[in-house]
């Protein structure tokens, strides 16, 4: 019916825009991934312009698969995303339950809590890695230095000096090594996204059926049982949403990794692509295709699984 077609047509601008936005670059990436294409090459200058005559077949893919960074980047991507998901959900539930009941200043605490979510990812990374986590100049370094100094002073104290004399000197942790910088990324992203989880869980907690809780109290359920058997099941759906939204955002995590890692070996898939793209566009594109495949696998699992409950 004519009147029904027009509303359906209204989808087309958005769908077309996204289709173009996805397909054109994807098509070019696909093309580049099958040819030899580098930005600078003194030996083979013909490789610096994309052309079918530089066809390499699956060569770029083999190159990427054989590079030791690739597997590591995938593992690291998953490690980082899963850790963040785990931490934000746990912290989110705990904090949401903590601040759900009214108390003096609840509004202010909520404002304080929500703030990290608005911080630009680049600022987040710069702020944490430099001013807070830096082993010398950051708060961590200053704190460790302060404690060491304090203990040093106490070593000469009468009576208790021997006790402190046995204490080792504390070493600040450097968050710029390969693995520790992954921890740094996890810490800063968790800081930024826990508020998101808290807010969602809090909204959900407010809709919890109070009569059900009262019935549970009458049935003799203690606080823990109420939480375990009423609150937690009630939170299942919001947890699914938190996991899904965050997975969407964190799979393409880039700014934090780039700022924290600076070539120390810590990388996720997007960052590896960025590294290749400094010169070897062919390899970067092949990695990109792998990333697209990975994203689709996750999308199928996650969106299908969770999407179903969300559509109701």
């Amino acid at each position: 019916m004519s009147d029904r077609k027009l509303p359906r047509l209204l989808q087309t601008p958005a769908v077309l825009l996204l289709l173009v936005w996805m397909l054109i670059p994807l098509g070019m990436t696909l093309y580049f991934s099958f040819i030899r294409y580098v930005l600078n090459s003194l030996r083979r200058p013909e490789w610096t312009t994309p052309s079918f005559s530089n066809w390499r077949g699956f060569g770029n893919y083999e190159f990427v698969l054989n590079s030791k960074d690739f597997l590591f980047a995938i593992q690291n991507s998953l490690f980082i995303v899963c850790s963040i998901l785990f931490l934000t959900v746990i912290l989110g539930v705990l904090i949401a339950v903590l601040i759900n009941k009214t108390f003096p200043g609840q509004g202010i605490v909520r404002v304080l809590l929500i703030s990290p979510f608005f911080v630009m990812p680049a600022v987040n990374a710069v702020l944490w890695i430099n001013m807070i986590l830096d082993p010398v100049l950051g708060l961590q370094g200053i704190a460790v230095g302060g404690i060491n100094e304090l203990i040093d002073g106490l070593k000469d104290a009468p009576l208790v000096g021997w006790f402190f004399g046995m204490w080792p000197e504390l070493q600040p942790i450097s968050f710029r090594a390969t693995q520790t910088s992954a921890y740094a990324v996890i810490i800063m992203v968790t800081w930024q996204w826990t508020p998101f989880a808290v807010l969602i869980f809090m909204t959900s907690l407010q809709s919890e059926d109070q009569q059900q809780k009262e019935a549970a109290v009458l049935d003799g359920a203690n606080t823990w049982s109420q939480f375990r058997f009423l609150t937690l099941p009630h939170l299942a759906r919001p947890i699914a949403i938190v996991v899904m939204i965050q997975a969407i955002f964190h799979l393409s995590l880039y700014a934090e990794i780039e700022i924290v890692s600076r070539g120390n070996g810590n990388k996720n898939l997007p960052y590896l692509i960025g590294e290749f793209a400094n010169n070897n566009i062919g390899a970067a594109s092949a990695t990109g295709i792998f990333a697209v495949i990975l994203a689709n696998i996750v999308a199928i699992f996650l969106l299908r699984m969770i999407g179903k409950t969300l559509m109701e």
Binding site: M28, V119, P121, A284
Partner: protein, 277 residues
């Protein structure tokens, strides 16, 4: 909750205290950034000036005088506002169609849209740079607005969709019976009814646009460069210029955090993506 009226000691003192501690801990890094922005670069790394120092506005003055802060800020405002407007302009009709005239493919289309957000931007950076430079769009407001719209469109459409679905279909149908055409339905019924949801969607979209730092950094040089580009340019090597860095960061983050505070209510609703009641 009459029957659980007895409040434990923890409930009366412990819970508020713990809640405040958690809140302050989460806010601390932002507070620290603002505090450091009033220190000189030298003071910022000295343990003895950790808390006690002579506050100075030099960093902010320096930032506006030598780093052209206002131009970046202006670009951020222009691109984020325009991108939000454009996204809603395209997104509202789309979400309307999906919510009230769904077909069997609607769910798949929505899921596909969301999945485009998972694509690694880095994979298409090179083609994007190539295309935009060829088309002469590189470093233009138009390009940044378009890109910001596109990366936020899936989330925006999804959020709007969940809000629109809350509206009883009867009301839209009543509009049809009363002689409203499609445009009339959207203008007279849908938008007024979903106003709260649209506002929170717009806010969230604006925030995501403002904070975007991948494309805005890589597809601009000067003309359309936003605040994230300013941060990028001031990301000095470790430990140097903490004061300056803090000032730039605070100035980039400040407006959006304050906006977030004022619109907290709508945002909380928006952040749940309409999927939690």
């Amino acid at each position: 909750m009459a029957i659980v009226a007895k409040t434990s000691r923890f409930g009366k003192y412990g819970r508020p205290t713990l809640a405040w501690v958690v809140g302050l801990l989460f806010f601390f890094p932002i507070f620290w950034m603002v505090l450091t922005s009033f220190k000189t670069d030298a003071d910022a790394v000295k343990p003895e000036h950790l808390i006690f120092f002579k506050p100075t506005f030099d960093n902010y003055i320096n930032m506006t005088e030598n780093y052209d802060y206002w131009r970046f800020a202006k670009n951020s405002v222009i691109t984020a506002v325009m991108a939000t407007v454009f996204t809603l302009f395209v997104g509202i009709p789309c979400a309307y169609a999906m919510a009230f005239n769904p077909s069997r493919a609607t769910k798949d289309v929505l899921m596909w849209m969301l999945s485009t957000k998972m694509l690694p931007a880095a994979a298409v950076l090179y083609p994007m740079t190539f295309i935009t430079k060829t088309a002469g769009l590189f470093d233009t407001h138009f390009l940044i607005i378009l890109v910001l719209s596109l990366i936020n469109m899936p989330i925006v459409i999804w959020m709007l969709f969940t809000y629109f679905k809350e509206i009883p279909k009867d009301i839209i149908e009543a509009g049809q019976m009363d002689g409203a055409n499609t445009w009339g339905e959207i203008k007279e019924i849908l938008i007024p009814l979903a106003w709260g949801g649209i506002a929170s969607t717009a806010l969230l979209c604006f925030i995501f646009c403002w904070n975007e730092a991948y494309w805005t950094v890589r597809l601009t040089t000067t003309d359309a460069a936003t605040l994230s580009k300013l941060i990028e340019g001031n990301r000095a090597p470790e430990g140097l210029f903490f004061g300056r860095l803090s000032a730039v960061s605070a100035a980039a983050v400040g407006p959006i955090v304050v906006l977030g505070w004022f619109c907290q209510k709508q945002l909380v609703q928006g952040l749940t993506f309409g999927a939690v009641k």
